[in-house]
Symmetry: C2
Subunit: 192 residues, 2 copies
């Protein structure tokens, strides 16, 4: 593997982002998310809090909330999870939830049903502005990233997300991690 | 997509192959598998019969049996399924079950616990001898196959399986199908 184009891989299990209003509705007025552990992106964290989500066909009892709160509530699932819930969400970049399926969310203090917000996250590669310069890559550029090993493959359409607030990390979901035989903490490389 | 190197894709859900003795143990003496529908490979079929399988952590109530019977019983699951069962099977070619995890199998007339036989199937490309000649590919050769679309990727280590008993069909599991956004009946192409 070329050291120069090496990128760490993070496999994201299903998770949810909540608005401040939904945190209050689900956990009670004045409640706040509390940090269980930091994520690879600066300021982002996995919360101690979880919620249950109910689709038309199935449910997940404990979905991890990722903080901090966001302008819109968004549930990110794998295609496998989506089948279990009985939903057919599109593959989308985070935040682009217009026209996506809704979901019922239940917390210890209440419940919320959102009309949209369920996505299968498009595979993407967070990078700091300095990484982008080093790689010669622009924000939103579609990249190819190779993962080695017995289930080795080359992911296409990996969206570059460049910001001076980001740390280098490629995010794929559990279906993609399983298909490639790759786990969080392992590495891929950008293919020219 | 180059028409010349186009290959149909088949996404395999979890399934089981049984020995004649295990069919008798699970469905009763004299019982035989009955055909629900033919598969892409000549002579192979999905049976009407299903079994339940129990791992240390979870179970699947209805696992489709593929016929005809085989010299060894083999359960093929995705990595996602394996987590649900609480097993850690290796990625293997069909039939290579030495040292793989066992499983408890329950049918309407009895049950069987096998000491080995659970695998995650290695992605492979069945082809007729005439296809292999046309592609310039040898049996057991490792190929790369590209799948297009928004989750497009290039699968590496696709094992060519050449026989005059085989029909052209690339077999991947549900994790791989979900990761690539590809369904049975769609197409990939062999990459040079």
């Amino acid at each position: 593997m070329s050291e120069a184009k090496k990128v760490p891989v993070g496999v994201s299990a299903r998770h949810i982002h909540l608005t401040e209003a939904h945190v209050a509705a689900l956990f009670g007025e004045g409640a706040a998310l509390t940090e269980m552990k930091p994520l690879s992106q600066p300021g982002q964290f996995a919360a101690n809090e979880t919620v249950a989500v109910y689709g038309p066909k199935g449910a997940f009892a404990k979905v991890r909330i990722l903080g901090p709160t966001r302008p819109a509530t968004q549930l990110e699932v794998s295609r496998t999870d989506a089948f279990a819930l009985g939903l057919n969400p599109p593959v989308r970049e985070s935040g682009k939830i217009k026209g996506t399926p809704g979901i019922r969310i239940v917390g210890p203090a209440g419940e919320v049903t959102v009309e949209q917000g369920v996505i299968v996250a498009a595979r993407h590669l967070h990078m700091h502005t300095s990484d982008a310069e080093r790689f010669g890559v622009a924000d939103k550029q579609l990249l190819r990233v190779r993962v080695g090993g017995e289930r080795g493959l080359v992911f296409g359409n990996v969206v570059a997300r460049v910001s001076d607030q980001f740390a280098l990390d490629m995010h794929i979901d559990t279906d993609e991690g399983n298909a490639a035989g790759v786990a969080t903490g392992e590495y891929g490389e950008i293919v020219d």
